[in-house]
């Protein structure tokens, strides 16, 4: 293995990530350099360390309390490092467009598979180092304050190993998922569905297993299940730090060595999987013979023109056939599953009010996500629509239907599930459906107004459909908007008399006002899009 080549390739892969979002034309600018992550990490580590140290000096907290915080939290940083890279990696790295991730050239350059795997893993681990730097800075201040500097140093080193373990796992998943669906021998639509299902299951499983809710639950149970988790390699870094904190240096050294060996093993496995499963060229998916017809009959029956129905149908195909869309689609499912499980397992639970609000929020958030990404996910292929005799109003209507319809289906299904799982009354189930449908429509319009104006059509390593600033604004304001509609509607649903009337009236007034204001705003955005293609 040529480490110089690994370093150069890793640099290129990080540059590809750093510059993908850069609007500046100057690639030599400080913010466009791969080193920016290192500077930011050091800045965070030192900055947070200094701030936390100052705060500790000022607060004069009991030393015993701080010591217990260190012993309780610092050992779990290595495990958290694995989780961060794995969850983030599966959400973003796996769905990256290979052609634009700077990794396509590796297919024909004289590189050995292990060199590519190591370089790519280092690049992934490096780009996820910031959250770890932040946590290390904070806990280092506490650890140094109570004289546990060696413990945080060991945790830091093993967290770096954890980042690499996570990155190697991401590489393994990346290689195997390249052919997911077709390796089973399936063909056509079945292969496509299998590929989508495999990715969805993988994303949901990883999100659930490494979700903070479950991580904390596993931490609580570590004392009980310690014997069992000691056999799980991702926990070895954590066990090393735990052993060190209890003064057992030999066991700490053994677990630290095991963690390093596990990382090495993962590198070997990732290399083998890349050689075995990586496919240089795009896989050919042959579907059943297509029957030409003017627009989908169901969509036509809903009043859409053939062109509008065609755009909606095309978007529906995109949802299930495009790898980069899948993480968006499963996010609400993950949120709901977490809430359902947390509600079922915790002693207090959310109560009917919490369940209704959160369920309506999740399905509306789904509509918001689909709407905000609906225009940018077209990429430059939107030229075909903009160059055709389709008016802006048609694209607007089509995008509204494509965003709202899946969210409405989800609303109905989830409301029924809520009824079955939590034994709420039929009235509440129907009310939840209505609330979710209305809130989803309102917030989809809101998202479309942003999407029409601020979409990003560039192909990038990490898919980005809306420019970052507007994405934050649209998501933040959209979530707020959902609550403004959903909370009073839920109050109305679960109350009687005047409170019910007031809640329903307020929710309806907000929804109608926002729709009245946003409809024109969104339509104007689409007209502007047709006047000047923004790429």
């Amino acid at each position: 293995m040529d480490l110089h080549r690994v370093r150069r390739l890793g640099w290129v892969l990080v540059a590809s990530q750093v510059r993908s979002g850069a609007r500046s034309a100057n690639p030599k600018g400080f913010l466009n350099q791969p080193g920016i992550f290192a500077w930011a990490a050091v800045g965070l580590l030192v900055g947070v360390f200094l701030l936390a140290s100052l705060a500790l000096d000022a607060l004069t907290l009991p030393r015993a309390l701080l010591g217990s915080v260190v012993v309780a939290a610092v050992p779990f940083l290595p495990l958290l490092a694995v989780a961060t890279v794995l969850v983030g990696g599966v959400m973003f790295e796996l769905t990256a467009t290979v052609r634009f991730a700077g990794s396509d050239a590796a297919n024909w350059l004289p590189l050995r598979p292990e060199e590519y795997v190591l370089a790519s893993s280092l690049a992934v681990a490096y780009t996820y180092c910031l959250p770890l730097a932040l946590l290390l800075g904070a806990f280092a201040a506490i650890a140094v304050h109570v004289g546990a500097g060696a413990l945080i140093a060991l945790s830091g080193v093993l967290s770096a190993v954890g980042l690499l373990e996570g990155a190697f796992l991401v590489e393994m998943v990346r290689s195997t998922s390249q052919r997911a669906g077709s390796t089973s021998g399936a063909r056509g639509r079945v292969a496509l569905v299998l590929r989508a299902l495999a990715l969805v299951i993988m994303i949901i499983a990883l999100q659930l297993v490494f979700n903070p809710v479950f991580l904390f639950a596993s931490l609580r149970g570590l004392a009980t299940f310690g014997q069992f988790t000691a056999y799980l390699p991702p926990f070895w870094g954590t066990f090393a730090v735990l052993a060190w904190s209890s003064g057992n240096v030999a066991v700490a050294a053994a677990f630290a060595l095991l963690a390093a060996a596990f990382a090495g093993l993962l590198l070997c496995a990732a290399t083998v999987l890349r050689v075995r499963y990586w496919s240089v060229t795009a896989e050919e998916f042959r579907l059943e013979p297509h029957r030409y017809a003017a627009g989908h009959p169901l969509l036509r029956a809903l009043g859409l023109s053939p062109a509008e129905a065609a755009i909606v149908t095309k978007d529906f195909h995109g949802y299930v056939r495009r790898r980069e869309m899948l993480p968006l689609l499963v996010l609400p499912i993950v949120l709901l599953v977490i809430v359902f499980i947390e509600n079922a397992t915790s002693s207090a639970g959310f109560g009917t009010f919490g369940i209704v609000v959160f369920t309506a929020w999740a399905t509306s958030f789904f509509a918001l996500l689909l709407a905000t990404t609906s225009v940018g996910q077209e990429r430059k292929a939107i030229t075909a629509v903009l160059a055709s005799p389709v008016p802006a109003a048609s694209l607007f209507r089509a995008k509204l239907v494509a965003s709202v319809a899946p969210a409405w289906v989800a609303s109905v299904v989830i409301a029924v599930l809520v009824g079955l799982l939590f034994h709420v009354g039929l009235g509440v189930v129907l009310g939840l459906m209505l609330t979710s449908v209305v809130a989803g429509f309102v917030v989809a319009l809101w998202g479309l107004a942003f999407a029409a104006r601020y979409s990003d059509f560039q192909e990038r390593p990490r898919p980005q459909y809306l420019r970052p600033g507007p994405m934050l604004a649209a998501t933040g304001s959209g979530i707020l908007l959902v609550f403004v509609v959903v909370v009073p509607a839920t109050v109305a649903l679960l109350s009687t008399g005047t409170a019910a009337l007031e809640g329903a009236g307020f929710a309806a007034a907000v929804a109608l006002t926002v729709v009245a204001l946003t409809w024109g705003w969104a339509r104007q955005g689409f007209e502007a899009l047709f006047r000047e293609v923004p790429f």
Partner: protein, 271 residues
């Protein structure tokens, strides 16, 4: 090989009224002036070659003709329709192939062409027949039910070409349409364009860097350089103007765009 379908003959197409009229078009991107005071026209049955070095403003001009860009100055009329105010009517008459066409790669070729047919309102029977003929003519039959993501560049280019021709356009705006095509397909497309122009009165604005092709199929050439029209006319007229009578279009092009003497460049590259 199946015969490719042609456009229905347009009634009353005379050479007097241009299909495309571009008047004093100017477009800037920030401080960069991409197109400056460009005027050109395409008559019925005429194939006009739009030539120019990289970054000369060819694609910008074509996108402005489609109404995909809003020019600061100037106007574009397509079959009498002002593109700025009657964009939909103008687009109905145009078939467009962009430079390096981006297609929806998660659709199959057949699904994509069906999608485009819906955008142009082509009825089911017509689209079925025409798509089949085009697929056969460009040797894509058998691949139409595969996802476009698995297509080669040439196959994608063929799909883009078919999608531009499906709705019987009266004006074709083709930005490097022969990119990536195999020799047979390139020949088919060239013959088809000639046929559409001469028999059906279709006008073609055609950009290419392959000057031999432009020389063979274009009735007139417009040369852009740094966003401006530096020469326009038939190939023989351009030869005369450049003082290179008897030379090929390549020499004429290099002379007119001021990139004629390449000896030093080649010498430097050989070192």
């Amino acid at each position: 090989m199946s015969a490719l379908p042609s456009a229905p003959r347009a009634a009353g197409t005379g050479r007097a009224e241009p299909l495309l009229g571009v008047e004093h078009l100017s477009k800037s991107y920030g401080t960069t002036r991409a197109v400056v005071d460009v005027s050109l026209s395409v008559a019925p049955g005429e194939i006009v070659g739009l030539l120019g070095p990289n970054g000369a403003g060819k694609s910008t001009t074509m996108r402005a003709i489609l109404g995909l860009l809003r020019p600061e100055v100037g106007s574009v009329r397509v079959l009498g329709h002002d593109v700025a105010s009657e964009g939909i009517a103008a687009k109905r008459e145009i078939g467009y192939v962009p430079e390096s066409p981006s297609l929806y790669e998660f659709l199959t070729g057949a699904e994509y062409l069906d999608f485009v047919s819906d955008l142009y309102g082509i009825d089911a029977a017509t689209r079925t027949e025409r798509i089949h003929q085009f697929l056969a003519g460009l040797e894509l039959l058998g691949h139409e039910d595969s996802l476009i993501s698995g297509y080669s560049q040439g196959m994608k280019q063929k799909v883009a070409l078919i999608s531009a021709l499906l709705h019987h356009p009266r004006l074709l705006i083709l930005d490097e349409p022969l990119n990536g095509l195999d020799p047979r397909a390139a020949r088919v497309v060239k013959d088809l364009l000639r046929n559409l122009a001469s028999s059906d009165g279709v006008g073609v604005l055609f950009s290419t860097h392959v000057l031999e092709i432009a020389e063979v199929i274009c009735d007139r050439i417009v040369i852009l350089s740094r966003g401006q029209v530096v020469a326009a006319g038939t190939v023989s007229a351009l030869r005369e103007r450049s003082g290179l009578a008897g030379s090929g279009l390549e020499e004429v092009f290099l002379a007119l765009t001021g990139t004629g003497d390449l000896t030093d460049v080649v010498s430097a590259l050989r070192r």
